[in-house]
């Protein structure tokens, strides 16, 4: 491995071209001096100009000629190959378009002025000199080269440095690219891509990194039972280790409903929802899913006003159309009928009956019970508090209704707790400690964060308030265009695989500079395991070959120290 990186870094130092034009608004233009096949769209390049290094991405490549006739005429048929080659070498060329993103001051030469170099190095170590947004342009004819491992580490952080986690490698050269996990969770972030592009795999990688890092609690709404238990890849049939197996004591697997089993495994405990925990707003969130009428809010209000937290239970046990005989033997609505209650509450009978029948799907949910066996919600909160992480597996409850209802209700409750604690902590309450940061991971996020839901769900509140209450989201979705724009624009870090739909592409790029160039890069990603990282959480956009999620990954993640020191020992004794 080290041998390989030596050759590839020497390769990286060689110039591939020189700057011939461009500006701050338009991208830079560079004349390519190596065969075009050596460079690809999205390649990370470095431009050296005097004392400054400019870091940028190749966003386009264009064929050019000093005179269009040189391009038009097939001179190779008229001239001997040797001459034709010489001619083409000078009149036909490829220009690179480079989107410069960052620049950084370069140190003085170490040999020429060791003292100045030391001073500069100190400043870099203290992060006084850092890559900064591009505010000027490199000189004409500045050399352009492919970034080496060192350049990438300079910008994206070095693997092994606290909080920096390798998420993949550059396409050219295969140099490690890290994300700053601490920054990643400071704001909500998103992982996008069409189906099969590797979202779930990459999410596993990131979640594993977060759990290993252990600074943030993670709560995963695992709709398809992918994250907790071991799984089998649908395409390759390979075994895919789950988080539970790798972090047995740190990860709590929670099943939904009594007696739930997840892929044949018994979860650590199960979650049942108490009827009394259900609020009218939890129902309103399901307006679309249950196709509720506009009369619903009034009906729910009346129920809640009358019965308080008992409303769900009471309503569930009302009998539609039940009749009884009065003293005169006439059939009248029974006392426990919906009609009787509606009359009394001044609610239109049909509205109440309609709502009741629509709520039947909830009434029949086996995980909604009057008296849950334990207080699982509290237990989850405790776990999250105590440095553990939770995978809530939906088991057989894979319907949208289950997902929407449970994840919303839980998130609302958990966020309330975090908000309460944050306020206590901020106002300096005795004994109040800083809440542990929490990341909530949600698959198929558009179901929870679409335009219609966005005004009502706790999820969109969390996305919009950033980290005010120490809770952020990690949303995973294949249709970003269906997620409310306001939520999308708040996402700090976006990691996106290939997207075919132009609306989806558009929405992933909302609010970012250089959209045109990025759009092209996104459209040309490999259909699998290649992602574009962008947004506030990364220093500059970059195309990354996703880190492979396999046994080697786990070995590295969990046994890194041992491996490192072995190598160090070998080096120390002269190997």
């Amino acid at each position: 491995m080290s041998e390989q990186s030596v050759t590839s870094s020497a390769e990286a130092q060689k110039p591939i071209g020189y700057i011939v034009g461009g500006g701050l608004k338009a991208n830079l233009q560079a004349r390519l001096t190596v065969p075009a096949q050596k460079v690809q769209e999205g390649a990370f390049v470095v431009v050296e100009s005097g004392n400054w290094l400019f870091y940028g991405l190749v966003t386009d490549m264009q064929l050019g000629s000093t005179d269009p006739r040189f391009a038009d005429e097939q001179t190779e048929t008229r001239l001997p190959p040797e001459l034709a080659k010489l001619l083409h070498g000078q009149t036909l060329f490829t220009n690179l378009e480079v989107m410069a993103a960052l620049m950084m001051e370069q140190g003085p030469d170490m040999d020429e002025d060791p003292e100045a170099y030391q001073a500069w190095f100190q400043k870099v170590m203290e992060e006084e000199i850092r890559p900064e947004p591009v505010k000027t342009v490199p000189q004409h004819h500045s050399e352009v080269r492919l970034a080496g491992a060192g350049d990438i580490a300079e910008i994206f952080g070095k693997e092994g440095k606290k909080g920096y986690f390798r998420i993949g490698d550059t396409i050219e050269g295969g140099h490690p690219v890290c994300v700053d996990l601490d920054k990643l969770v400071q704001r909500s972030s998103g992982i996008f891509g069409a189906t099969g592009t590797g979202k779930s795999f990459l999410t596993r990688v990131i979640l594993a990194g977060l759990i290993k890092r252990d600074k943030t609690a993670v709560l995963i709404f695992d709709m398809h039972n992918e994250y907790g238990p071991d799984d089998t890849a649908s395409d390759t049939g390979m075994r895919v280790p789950g988080l539970k197996g790798k972090f047995p004591s740190k990860v709590r697997m929670v099943g939904l409903g009594r007696g739930a089993t997840i892929r044949g495994k018994t979860p650590d405990y199960t979650l049942e929802i108490a009827e009394s925990d259900i609020m009218p707003e939890d129902i309103l969130m399901l307006t679309q899913e249950l196709n509720l009428r506009e009369t619903t809010p009034a009906t729910l209000n009346a129920l809640f006003n009358q019965y308080g937290r008992d409303w769900f239970h009471k309503f569930k046990n009302m009998r539609p159309h039940a009749v009884q005989e009065d003293e005169e033997g006439n059939k009248v609505p029974a006392d426990d009928s919906i009609e009787a209650w509606a009359n009394e509450a001044n609610i239109h009978q049909l509205a109440a009956i309609g709502l009741h029948s629509k709520l039947n799907r909830l009434f029949n949910c086996e995980y909604i019970v009057e008296n849950p066996a334990g207080d699982a919600v509290n237990q989850m909160i405790n776990n999250l508090d105590n440095g553990q992480h939770i995978v809530l597996s939906f088991g057989n409850h894979e319907k949208d209704l289950d997902y929407l209802f449970v994840s919303n209700l839980l998130t609302r409750r958990i966020r309330d707790v975090w908000e309460y604690r944050t306020n206590n902590f901020r106002s300096g309450h005795q004994g109040a400690t800083e809440p542990r940061p929490l990341v909530i991971a949600v698959e198929e996020a558009h179901k929870l964060l679409n335009r219609e839901m966005a005004s009502q769900t706790t999820f969109s509140t969390i996305a919009r308030e950033m980290r005010k209450y120490y809770v952020t989201l990690l949303i995973i979705d294949q249709r970003p265009s269906q997620i409310y724009d306001e939520v999308m624009s708040q996402l700090g870090t976006r990691i996106t695989g290939w997207l075919g739909d132009s609306d989806d592409i558009q929405s992933v790029l909302t609010g970012l500079a250089g959209r045109e160039a990025l759009r092209g890069m996104l459209a040309h990603l490999q259909p699998k395991e290649e992602v574009l990282m962008l947004g506030w959480g990364v220093p500059m956009p970059i195309v990354v070959h996703s880190r492979r999620y396999d046994d080697a990954f786990w070995e590295e993640l969990l046994e890194k120290k041992a491996r490192r020191s072995n190598r160090d020992i070998l080096r120390d004794i002269g190997f």
Partner: protein, 198 residues
């Protein structure tokens, strides 16, 4: 140094001169060949032959129209004319105190100065210096058959360079020509076509 004298100077200017020679001297110089004119110690002018022509005169006209001219008379009039063969030379540079300059010489040669053909090693020496600056002079005057001249020159110079062990010279020379001519599509293609025939 080779000492093949090809004639003496008839007329001259900064950018070129005309050499006169006897007909029987004409087998030595050819189109595209390089010549030199030693002017004083440590100073000589270099040039390339771009034109060879023979003027007519009254006698030739008469002979052509006359009938039954004996073979000996024709032969005698061909070889012993009093009108010289004129050889046009384009100045390419000069040598002063052992240094080659691809610039126009400070002083042109004078009438009746003797002109010598360059030997292959002299050709290699002159064309191998610097970065083909003398191409400028060859490309300047588009009234001359520039393409043919370049092709002829490259052909001879390549042979001289290969003899001198500099195989890469030819590629570099063509590369430089392309650089100089790439804004002139027609001219360049014509030149390369000519070059491709050598």
């Amino acid at each position: 140094m080779s000492e093949i004298e090809i004639g003496r100077l008839l007329r001259s200017g900064t950018t070129g001169f005309v050499v006169g020679c006897k007909v029987n001297q004409l087998n030595a110089p050819g189109f595209g060949a390089m010549v030199r004119v030693p002017l004083e110690a440590q100073y000589q002018v270099y040039g390339v032959i771009y034109d060879i022509h023979i003027e007519d005169d009254g006698l030739v006209r008469q002979l052509i129209t006359a009938q039954d001219v004996p073979e000996e008379v024709l032969k005698d009039n061909r070889e012993n004319r009093n009108v010289p063969v004129e050889i046009g030379v384009l100045v390419l540079g000069y040598e002063q105190e052992g240094r080659i300059f691809h610039l126009l010489p400070p002083r042109p040669p004078l009438s009746l100065d003797a002109i010598f053909l360059c030997s292959p090693s002299e050709v290699a020496h002159f064309t191998g210096q610097g970065r083909f600056g003398y191409f400028r002079h060859m490309l300047r005057d588009r009234d001359k058959p520039v393409e043919e001249l370049l092709a002829a020159h490259l052909y001879q110079a390549r042979a001289a360079q290969v003899d001198a062990g500099n195989e890469a010279w030819y590629q570099k020379a063509v590369g430089e020509l392309i650089t100089l001519m790439r804004d002139d599509y027609q001219g360049l293609i014509k030149t390369l076509s000519a070059v491709s025939e050598i």
